[in-house]
Symmetry: C2
Subunit: 217 residues, 2 copies
DNA sequence: ATTTTTATCTTGATCAATCAAGATAGGGAG
DNA sequence: CTCCCTATCTTGATTGATCAAGATAAAAAT
């Protein structure tokens, strides 16, 4: 089996492929906070194991086997996050780091118990889809709030990387499923205004809005 | 902080000190399935960090700090085991291995949630005491069933090392708290006979009885 | 077509954890 | 008092993961 280090590389490559179409050595290094030389070395190792197709200097991509492995890690990560929120009552802002470690040690047995206990859920606390045991993923259609025009929207997904933003969103009640009106977009000032029935209006910066994904309603 | 490898060494040393009075390099090697040279190297590292008092060739023992660290790992291990049995509904025969890994990655935060959820328990599923946050441990008084004479007893603790034995005990209803009568001890043949009201009598070998700890009633 | 830039690669080194093989110290046997 | 046995130690090597510094190739700029 892949070591936890390798699992983290695979997850990062999958993430970059989904985000930017392809994973480059430099991007992997940035995301994992490593030097590119270190990443190059690991690319050889992963290639050796048939987890990626790697042509030095030309590019790399997950092999079918690598993609499945990566999806299994993502599945573990997201199920664990949901478990921590639903069963352990931790806040959605504090489960990511914990899951980052647990995802590498939890047994299939225990994972299945969690899955069962949670009723075979399809989405994690941040709105990300949970791959099923075969690696199938429901696509979540959504656009970053930062790109939207004035109108009515529903929160569909939130980036789980910034704990601070998650805390703020939670405090303001901007959780998954929440509906609201984007009442003003002041691109020059980089500020958006959000309004909900019976609530005070809120302002948030574009950088924050980048992390919130919505669908029109 | 100590690495998981170091945590496992500390736990083993604590175990040996409790079991045999002192931990020797060779015993640590046997228990962790390593060569003695490897253990010697780690002894220098642990000594360096002030976790053990080590005099080459003379002996070693946990320092106060090392003892507390070891007890924290044991606390994590046992709380996790209990959580897996009580909350996750895993069998007491399958939680040890899982806890062996989880004990090194779980956060204080999550551990405390488990502790809270379980009602600040004092004993794990096998009857072993759970050290409190300060490392205080309730002593469990018990003797191995293998050493007992015919009479009435209550199961107080069971070794958690043999998954097979745990499964068998569970199937026969010989769980913690269970009372029974030791009706025959045939030392020559290495067989003990156990009887309970309204149940068929059971036979078990001395090696198995070694692992079951009881108190007279 | 050259030159320059820059991402990627290679190399030599380090650190943790480990083993195999051989050295050694100390407690017991004679 | 010497010899020997055995547990413990030391040494040299390996593997995984990493970095710093320098080499190189492909793309971009001139
Ligand atoms: Mn996450
Ligand atoms: Mn991780
Ligand atoms: Mn255990
Ligand atoms: Mn362990």
């Amino acid at each position: 089996m892949a070591t936890s280090t390798e699992e983290n590389y695979l997850k990062t490559i999958l993430h970059l492929e989904e985000e930017k179409g392809a994973a480059k050595v430099g991007d992997i290094a940035t995301e994992l906070q490593l030097t590119s030389g270190t990443v190059t070395t690991m690319m050889h190792a992963l290639s050796e194991q048939g987890l990626i197709d790697y042509a030095p200097r030309k590019g790399l991509k997950l092999s079918e086997e690598g993609r499945l492995s990566a999806l299994q890690v993502v599945r573990r990560h997201r199920l664990i996050e949901l478990f921590l929120v639903e069963v352990m009552n931790l806040d959605w802002s504090e489960v990511h780091d914990e899951a980052e470690d647990l995802e590498h040690v939890i047994s299939d047995r225990l994972l299945d118990r969690m899955d069962e206990m949670l009723g075979r859920p399809t989405h994690d606390p941040h709105g990300d889809p949970i791959p099923d045991r075969e690696g199938k993923v429901t696509v979540v259609v959504s656009t970053s709030l930062a790109k939207m025009e004035v109108g009515s929207y529903r929160v569909v997904r939130v980036s789980d990387e910034s704990s601070d933003l998650l805390e703020w969103l939670n405090q303001k009640g901007l959780t998954i499923g929440q509906e609201f009106e984007l009442s003003r977009e002041d691109r020059a000032a980089g500020i958006l205004e959000i309004r909900r029935a019976g609530e005070e209006s809120l302002q948030l910066g574009l950088e924050a809005a980048e992390q919130v994904f919505v669908e029109a309603i």
